[in-house]
Amino acid sequence: MRTPLSVRLFQSLPRTGWLALAIFAAIAWIAIPAAHLLLPEGHALYVSAYTVTLMGKILCYAVVAVAMDLIWGYAGILSLGHGVFFALGGYAFGMYLMRGIGTDGSYGVALPDFMVFLDWKELPWFWVGSDSFLWALIMVVAVPGLLAFVFGWFAFRSRIKGVYFSIITQALTYATMLLFFRNETGFGGNNGFTDFKRILGYDITSPQMRLVLFGLSAALLIAVLILGRYLVTSKFGRVLAAIRDAESRVRFIGYQPTQYKLAIWTLSAVLCALAGALYVPQVGIINPSEMSPANSIEIAVWVAVGGRGTLIGGVIGAFIVNLAKSFFTVSFPDYWLFFLGFLFIGVTLFLPDGVVGLWRKLRGRRPAATETATPTPAATPQGAKA
């Protein structure tokens, strides 16, 4: 007797998980919009446009963190280049947004401003179709997906693992960043795209549009969490974890690790791209610095702070780090790096499984992943007993 997929999807989350998602959805889709639109400014519960965009941005980051956790936490592949997929998704959608400016730009012509003053006479071929929303959506998924697929296919086939993989992903994002910096590449150089006006004809700065984007980001996060949860509780997830722990053994029992890795890698990239596409209209700019190696490392940092191999940890990490940044950069503009630095150090030292690990410890539940193995005391820090 086989359980239908819908039921299994449902079962993949514990009851508390669904409850949490429901509360989250209610806040994101009902409470915040209501508080933003209906309450007067100055009301204690009023949610400002600033808060909505900030939260929207962090929701997108959270999606990226979950995507990162899928490959890092569950498949043991540390990507130091996930920013590239995020940024490509953003660029793909940004092209649509640029075209959406129409003749409202500084030069009043259909070409994007940067093309005019850099002497482009017409749209280059890769901009064809970028004025179509549908095409933009396709590109958002297809371009990063294809890049990830091709890159992953070669890398996994060559059995590139561990830091070697991490380093080439870093090289990938770095190279792409330099490429996009060049004005000749046709994406606005370091200024990138900005000054967007509308999506599907609607004003991008209107509160309604802001809320729609925010709501979509929340929806994407919910969907990604459910999907991720399903994946990691499925046999697919167990095979991934097995590959993470002992890849060659997996081969000897008849699985092709390459295909499994490629699948999760590409999926992770596409999820990042979707997040990037939602991020750009909310923050209002996309430029190559999103592809800088440091940005990609930070994604891994979010996951580690939240707790690796937990999915929800990524979300929590993304929120903690980014809210902390937003708060500290204003409250302690001169010293906030100290706070952030010590936060990272503290988390690793005292919360080896991130915030989620702490939560579990407090609840007295030891996660399977830590009670674990490494019966060799290699994992016990030297001097821990001293």
């Binding site: 499925s234 722990d245 060659s248 000897f252 399977a368």
Partner: protein, 274 residues
């Protein structure tokens, strides 16, 4: 021998039947399941295998002994695709050229292996270890929707019972003791239902009693499966009862019944000692 095991073997092709082979299927028309000829492997000039030739018949239980460093493990590496031989042929059945296949393909074709040093998935529970090893469609797409049927669950339970780890089923495998890991790895091998089992020192670290049980298990598997067992424990080899091959410096030194090779002065000299 459980019934599921029997069924599994029966349905996967009767040895010797002359039906048309599908590509990739095992051809046992000459009763030989494994065929090694003139295999040589060297590492930085050191010949670990030196023109090794060996054939294993379908259903046979073969013990391989030989001094430390004789090349036994290396031979298994060659058969399972982990090491590519410098020269020589390695065939699984009549048609499958092992030197051209990668590890998953070889595993898929029906060769299972237990490593000298037990290797299991430490973070997975004992149950999951067995589940992962179980013979099914192991492609990505299927794994996304795979779920255990009642019958498959039973098979895992049977195996758990057989390796006496029922009580440990839900513990992470990394927490098992050395001997328990050995058993778990044997269990995983059984779940794979391979045609040919390669067992590298399966009873190392087991008590004498468990060694006997293991021998019984292997003997019961023979016939339906083919087994190649490497061991240094002579009483265990004796209990297996099959033919014995002695490897030395990468090639076959002697072959025959245990009694015969034990009497061979060269074997005594290099291996058994006085």
């Amino acid at each position: 021998m459980s019934t599921t095991m029997h069924d599994g073997i029966a349905s996967s092709g009767r040895a010797g039947d002359s039906h048309v082979l599908r590509p990739g299927e095992l051809d046992l028309s000459h009763k030989v399941i494994l065929y090694l000829e003139d295999i040589s492997v060297s590492f930085d000039g050191f010949k670990a295998l030196n023109n090794l030739s060996l054939t294993i018949d379908a259903g046979e239980l073969r013990a391989i002994i030989g001094p430390n460093g004789a090349g036994k493990t290396t031979m298994m590496d060659v058969i399972t695709g982990k090491t590519r031989p410098d020269s020589g042929k390695a065939f699984f059945g009549q048609t499958l050229d092992l030197t051209r296949m990668n590890e998953p393909e070889i595993a898929h074709a029906g060769i299972g292996r237990k490593f000298q040093k037990p290797t299991i998935f430490e973070n997975h529970s004992v149950f999951e270890n067995l589940e992962l090893a179980m013979k099914t469609d192991k492609r990505v797409w299927k794994s996304l929707f795979a779920q255990l049927s009642g019958e498959e669950r039973d098979r895992v339970s049977d195996t758990l019972k057989r390796i006496r780890l029922q009580t440990e089923a839900d513990r992470p495998a990394g927490l098992l003791s050395h001997g328990q890991k050995q058993w778990l790895e044997i269990g995983m091998l059984l779940m794979q239902e391979p045609r040919l089992l390669l067992l590298d020192e399966p009873v190392a670290g087991m008590t004498d009693e468990e060694t006997e049980r293991t021998a019984e298990l292997f003997v019961s598997l023979a016939g339906q499966h083919s087994l190649v067992v490497v061991e240094h424990d002579m009483s265990f080899v004796e209990a297996l009862g099959g033919q014995v091959t002695v490897l030395h410096e990468g090639s076959v030194l002697a072959e025959g019944s245990l009694a015969k090779v034990q009497a061979d002065p060269r074997v005594i000299e290099v291996y058994l000692g006085r």
